[in-house]
Every structure is written in structure tokens, then in C-alpha cells.
């Protein structure tokens, strides 16, 4: 704990942030996820906020930054004697449902070790996921994106990406800031609060199989803390260009309990991946929109010290420092829509070998993704992504095991995704997605030490995804 706190104190990019803020003030102003619940609340069609769901347009990003509160339906209202609004509720709740169903075909069957046979080659999921959303305004400056999802793996309903948000506008015309948004977000997945599709939570692939073979080596910011942490943060969106955010995450795990009291907390050594104290998350980015084009470039990161299961609060922690850089370009024409997302995440891991997970004292993990997508009339289109995860060889973390193991002790996984989509309606996507692996867990052939090749994990994924 003491080690963690002192290292957190060293994390002070104050001067840098200050420079960015000053720079934003000096700049003169210039001309200036997807739910039907939002459509119900705003009266505006999907295409206002989404190019093709779930990718956001500049308007969609602003809707989210403004706290999901923009509403065009009749309100149940109350005011006090000072004419302040004390209640503003939509007459109809902005509820919606999302359904995903799919079929996955693996290139080569998975061994059935129990009876010396093989698994089925196909896996059908109906539903793959079923979600209930409340997405929209709660009060004048308060809104929510709340998602409950039924999981086929556990046959239970659990919390999915959720974001409670307060936002308001301010103005500083005398220093060249005619309008800025300031807001607070309380969310349960680092980057789920982000409004660009080049960060992990809302990045491509937007939908993927749950029945394939996964490469489990992921950076902390790339979904590892999703729905097991809660972060409270503040953000600024200045002059429709500059985004600044700092959020602190703590562990907020569901389905766990304190082994002494039987209550849901405080967490102890029986819970895995506990964040020690607060994990700071930061985000800085610049968006430039012109004509039908929107370009964004940014950086984000997270630093967290975590305890694995079996290690107490005073025991050794692993410290992860993630630096991400991302960029996004969109061309949003009347007929043609073209997008590129680029993401690169570097993770430095200070492993405490005393806790028995890693063999090395320091490890590295790098993830890169480059995606291009095109749609015609928001009806037919597709995407291509090349992806790569590479990292330090660590025989403590990566060991030989059938299908999911690594004979080389390495996480390296590389390949490409090809996807074709057809949207008969704006809120329904039918797709075919093919994932091809060039390398899996460190090798092209016999990567697991049991004769499986990377290409055996190639996956054909056919899906229907609709929200209403």
C-alpha cells in the first residue's frame, strides 16, 4: 500500500495539463451509444447521433458530453418559488431493448478431452445477449446510460456498461472560450465514458463472438476492469475542440463478498483483481471538424495497482501503467460514410513475483488496432481491422495448455477481421464477420504445445443485432 501511494504521488502531470488548459484558453473560437431510448427522448432518428450504430457522429458525441439530457418530449415538471426546476421527468421513460443472436463456426473443432473426441464446430447463441436500457434524462443536467444484460455464460442478469452523468455549459468569452461543457461522470468501465470509437469500450469490433477462442492477454484499460470497477471523474469540452478528463477508479465488483461478514464488502483476498486504492485515468484529445469531415487525435491512460486472489491488502501488488494513443477520422456524406479508427496501447507491468503470477519483475504488453469502415446509405457496408498484441515472454503468465495456452510463453496474437453488414432498418444490423489469426499466443503453428495452429482459431461469426 505504502509503495503504491508513493508511486501515485509521483504521478503528477499537472504541469502538462495546465499547459493544455492554457493553450485551450489562448485559442480563438472558430466557426464552429446507441439506444432507441435516446431516440424516444429526443424525437431525433438514429442517424443524428450515429453514422451506423454504435459509432457516434459529432452530434452524438455532444449529446453524450451534455449528459444525455436533451429531450423533446413533454415533461412532468415542478418548480420552487425561485422558479428553479426541481423536477423534469419525461412522460414516457426512455427505455429500450437490445437483442443479439449469432452463430459461430470455428475453423477447427476444439478437443473434447473428457471422452477423447471433439466439440461441435458451430455454436449458436440465441440470444447472445439481451439487454435492457434506461438511457436518457433524469433531471435537468443529469442523465444516465444504464444497461442490464443477460449473460448466456452464467444464465444471469448483470450490470453492463453504465454511466451516470452531470453536465452543464459555461462561457469565458473574454479569454476566447465562448462555450464549454463541464461534467462529471460516474461509470463502471474505463473508456466507456469516452465519446470516440477509438478507445476500447466502444471500439471495433462492436460485436464479436462469445463462443470462439480468445487471446486472454489484454491491457488493463482494454476491458480488464469493465464492470468490476467504478470511476468518478470530471471532464471539460472546450470550444468543440479540446477534451480533458481525469477519473479515479476503485474496485466495485459484483458477486463477491467479504469472507468474514458475508457482506458484499470490504473486498478481501478472496476477490481477484482488486484495485489497491484509486486508479487514475486520464484523457486528452483534440477534435477538428470541417465540411463533412471529423478528425480526432488523443491520448489516454490508466495506472492501477491490483492484488490477485489469495493475496491480502498488505501483500504484494502488481502495478500496471497503460499509455494509449488514438485517432479517428470520419467522412459523413449524405450517401457515403467512411471511418478510420486507430488505437495503440502500451502497458508497462511492474510485477511483484512474490504473489505467484508472473515470472518476470517487469513485463510489457502492446496492443495496436487499425480499422477502416465504409457504409453506403447507412444500409450496406463493412469493416476491416488489423490487430496485434505483443508482449514480453513470461513463463509464469503464459503456459502450455490445450487451445488456450502458449508453448512459447508469449501473448503475441495478430490477425485481421473482415465484416460485411446490411441494415434493412437503421436499428437492425445483419452481419457476417470473419476473424483470421496469423499468430496466436506466440506462434503460428502448434502455438499451444498440443498441435493447434493459429489459423485453427479462425472464426466465422454470423449475427443479427437489433435495438428497439
Amino acid at each position: 500500500m505504502a509503495t503504491t501511494m508513493s508511486s501515485m504521488r509521483q504521478w503528477r502531470p499537472h504541469a502538462f495539463l495546465l499547459l493544455v488548459i492554457i493553450a485551450a484558453f489562448l485559442l480563438a473560437p472558430r466557426a464552429a451509444d446507441a439506444t432507441p431510448g435516446f431516440a424516444r427522448q429526443t424525437g431525433v432518428a438514429c442517424e443524428a447521433c450515429h453514422t451506423v450504430f454504435p459509432e457516434l457522429t459529432p452530434f452524438g458525441r455532444l449529446f453524450k458530453l451534455n449528459g444525455y439530457v436533451f429531450s423533446n418530449v413533454r415533461q412532468l415538471q415542478d418548480i420552487n418559488v425561485n422558479r428553479e426546476t426541481t423536477l423534469a421527468l419525461a412522460e414516457a421513460a426512455p427505455l429500450s431493448v437490445q437483442l443479439e443472436a449469432s452463430n459461430t463456426t470455428l475453423s477447427k473443432r476444439i478437443p473434447d478431452a473428457a471422452v477423447n473426441d471433439a466439440s461441435q464446430k458451430n455454436a449458436t447463441q440465441f440470444p447472445q445477449a439481451l439487454s435492457l436500457f434506461y438511457t436518457g434524462k433524469i433531471a435537468d443536467n443529469l442523465g444516465a446510460f444504464l444497461q442490464l444484460t443477460w449473460s448466456p455464460a452464467t444464465n444471469s442478469v448483470g450490470i453492463d456498461n453504465s454511466d451516470l452523468r452531470f453536465a452543464d455549459h459555461g462561457t469565458f468569452p473574454s479569454v476566447g472560450v465562448p462555450d464549454f461543457i463541464y461534467g462529471l461522470t460516474l461509470n463502471n468501465n474505463p473508456t466507456s465514458q469516452d465519446v470516440w470509437n477509438s478507445t476500447p469500450a466502444w471500439g471495433y469490433p462492436f460485436i464479436t463472438t462469445v463462443a470462439g477462442v480468445n487471446n486472454d492477454a489484454k491491457t488493463q484499460i482494454d476491458g480488464t476492469l469493465a464492470q468490476t470497477s467504478a470511476g468518478l471523474g470530471g471532464y471539460l469540452w472546450i470550444n468543440n475542440h479540446l477534451y480533458l478528463e481525469v477519473t479515479g477508479y476503485r474496485s466495485a465488483q459484483t458477486g463477491t463478498k467479504n469472507s468474514v461478514t458475508g457482506n458484499v464488502g470490504p473486498l478481501d483476498s478472496t476477490t481477484a483483481n482488486r484495485i489497491n486504492g484509486v486508479a487514475p485515468y486520464w484523457r486528452v484529445g483534440w477534435e477538428q471538424d470541417w465540411q463533412r469531415n471529423s478528425f480526432f487525435i488523443g491520448t489516454f491512460g490508466l495506472r492501477d495497482a491490483t492484488h490477485p486472489a489469495g493475496i491480502g491488502e498488505n501483500g504484494p501488488a502488481d502495478t500496471f501503467t497503460d499509455y494509449g494513443f488514438d485517432a479517428q477520422y470520419q467522412y459523413i456524406g449524405d450517401n457515403h460514410i467512411f471511418s478510420i479508427y486507430a488505437t495503440w496501447i502500451h502497458e508497462h507491468q511492474d510485477r511483484n513475483t512474490a504473489n505467484g503470477t508472473a515470472a518476470n519483475a517487469t513485463d510489457r504488453l502492446d496492443t495496436a488496432r487499425l480499422t477502416g469502415s465504409y457504409f453506403y446509405n447507412r444500409k450496406i457496408g463493412g469493416s476491416v481491422q488489423i490487430f496485434s498484441t505483443t508482449g514480453t515472454s513470461d513463463p509464469g503468465l503464459f503456459v502450455a495448455a490445450p487451445v488456450i495456452g502458449s508453448a512459447a510463453g508469449k501473448p503475441d496474437t495478430q490477425g485481421a477481421i473482415f465484416e460485411l453488414d446490411y441494415l434493412p432498418w437503421l436499428n437492425t444490423k445483419l452481419g457476417v464477420q470473419y476473424t483470421a489469426f496469423r499468430k496466436f499466443n506466440g506462434a503460428t503453428s502448434n502455438y499451444d504445445g498440443f498441435g493447434r495452429n493459429a489459423s485453427d482459431n479462425n472464426t466465422l461469426f454470423v449475427f443479427v443485432w437489433t435495438a428497439f
Binding site: 499537472h14 431525433v44 432518428a45 455532444l62 418530449v73
Partner: protein, 201 residues
């Protein structure tokens, strides 16, 4: 006392917000700042060619369109996708205030376009096309396309927006008898030329 620069900057920012120069907080101006500006620009100069410029538009036309979005009598695709929702809860007073605000903003300068197209478009705009029985546009929209009450200003408007509107009038996606009669007689080439000319003004 040592002040850390980041907390100091943030504190200054938030205190400053409270004390920031008092903006005009009328409901209409607040809506323009928060919502309309996203597509149409804070001063009515649109961000993308998908959306029309509103700066310098006649207040009568702006008011009529907002009322038509509100009562769904203007029903072209973008009207339904964007503006039906946007205008749903607007009161007559708010509509008037919004229309007056955008009408007072300085109209944008035109965009450059191919000289040949501009010349061809100008000829149609000023003289009409006699053999196609198309009257001059100028007679209603003004000699400088500055508009006249319910006849909108067209000068400096986004080229692709103008083209889309003429196509929508032609196919009656956007209902307007006079414009339907005129637009349906124009070829795609002529529509493109007229739009080039008007967007260049």
C-alpha cells in the same frame, strides 16, 4: 502556501464559470447554444454541407419552417430524422426568438465554384428556362437571392443542401406546389448549376 498548478487552474476555471460574463439566458438562445449550434453553427453558419446555413435567412421563412417541422407538414427525410424531434416542443414565442436571432447573424460569404457552372446557373436564376417553361428564380427570391419574407434567402447557401432541396421538391418529398412545378422540369445538370451559382454568392 504552495499552490499546485492543476488544482489552481481547475479552481480558477470553475470559479470563473460562476462569474463568467452573464450570457443571455433566454430559452431560445440557450437552445441555440446547446442544440441548434451543433449542426447549424452558433452563428448560423453550418458545420457540414448536410445542414443549411441559417445566418441572414429571412425570419418569416425560418419561423414557417420551424412550425412546419413541429406540425410535420415539412416531411423530407432530413426533416423527419432531425427536425421533427428538435421542433416538437418549441413554442411560438421561442420560434420567433430563434428566427430573429438567426436572421440577424451576418450571412456567410459564398464558396468558390466552377465558373462555367456558376454562369449557367446564374442565367437560369435570372432568366428562367423559357423552352422548359421554368420562370426566373429571381422574381421570388430577389435579384441577389437575398430572399423576401416567406421566400428564403438562397445566396451563400450550401451547394449540396440546395441540390437536395430541389430534388426533394421535384419528387415531392418536400411539399411545395410552386417549387414542385418548377423543380420537376429541371435536369440534374441544371439543378447542379443553379446550386453552384447560389452557393457562390
Amino acid at each position: 502556501m504552495t499552490l499546485h498548478p492543476l488544482p489552481a487552474a481547475l479552481a480558477a476555471l470553475f470559479l470563473g464559470t460562476v462569474a463568467a460574463e452573464a450570457a443571455d439566458n433566454s430559452a431560445a438562445l440557450d437552445l441555440i447554444r446547446r442544440e441548434c449550434s451543433t449542426c447549424h453553427g452558433a452563428q448560423g453558419v453550418s458545420v457540414s454541407p448536410t445542414f443549411p446555413n441559417l445566418a441572414g435567412q429571412t425570419p418569416q421563412y425560418l419561423g414557417a419552417q420551424l412550425r412546419a417541422f413541429r406540425d410535420h407538414s415539412r416531411a423530407d427525410p432530413h426533416a423527419q430524422a432531425f427536425m421533427w424531434g428538435m421542433a416538437a416542443q418549441l413554442t411560438d414565442d421561442t420560434i420567433k426568438e430563434m428566427a430573429d436571432y438567426f436572421a440577424k447573424q451576418p450571412a456567410p460569404r459564398g464558396a468558390s465554384a466552377d465558373k462555367g457552372e456558376v454562369a449557367a446557373g446564374e442565367k437560369i436564376y435570372q432568366e428562367g428556362v423559357e423552352k422548359q417553361d421554368v420562370p426566373s428564380c429571381m422574381s421570388c427570391h430577389g435579384d441577389k437571392a437575398q430572399g423576401n419574407e416567406l421566400f428564403p434567402r438562397l445566396a451563400g447557401q450550401r451547394r449540396s443542401y440546395l441540390e437536395k432541396q430541389l430534388e426533394a421538391f421535384s419528387t415531392e418529398l418536400r411539399a411545395n406546389e410552386i417549387m414542385h412545378e418548377n423543380a420537376k422540369k429541371l435536369s440534374a445538370r441544371q439543378i447542379s448549376d443553379i446550386a453552384a451559382y447560389l452557393s457562390s454568392l
